[in-house]
Symmetry: C2
Subunit: 88 residues, 2 copies
């Protein structure tokens, strides 16, 4: 198999696991609650994604950097919305 | 910086973004609901993780394979629990 075909799986995987958090953010903003979404999961995941950003920077991998900056932003907004709606 | 120090960030990131889904599974099993967890997010994420597994296999990366098989299992169990409790 050509290496470009192998890379396709990686890029497709990265797009899906990054874009996946957009429907969660939209749902949270629409229903104005994210009670069932685990706070510990969000915090652990954000910390992990933060380390992926550092790793991507250190190894100079633009795909890792871009995918994880978007994932971090989406999950940060989900966490922020969850806390915001819980306080209202 | 030594390359082993750089790799540390990658492994630490992988452990965190994998283990992060365990608290969500525990919360869902305890509260017996995951109404606020987006179904579209879970399905997109599972598809993405599935492609990470294929990618990890193709490039013979054991860390990518192991991390994504665990992530897939945890998220599959969250999806299964969400559907199961919604039907009850």
């Amino acid at each position: 198999m050509h290496s470009s075909n192998i890379e396709f799986f990686g890029y497709f995987a990265a797009i899906l696991t990054t874009a996946a958090f957009l429907p969660q953010l939209i749902k949270t903003l629409k229903t104005k609650k994210a009670e069932d979404v685990s706070l510990v999961t969000l915090i652990m995941f954000l910390c992990g994604v933060f380390f992926w950003i550092i790793y991507g920077y250190k190894i100079s991998s633009l795909p890792i950097l871009i995918a994880n900056i978007i994932t971090f932003t989406l999950n940060f907004l989900i966490l922020f919305s969850k806390i915001y709606y819980a306080r209202k």
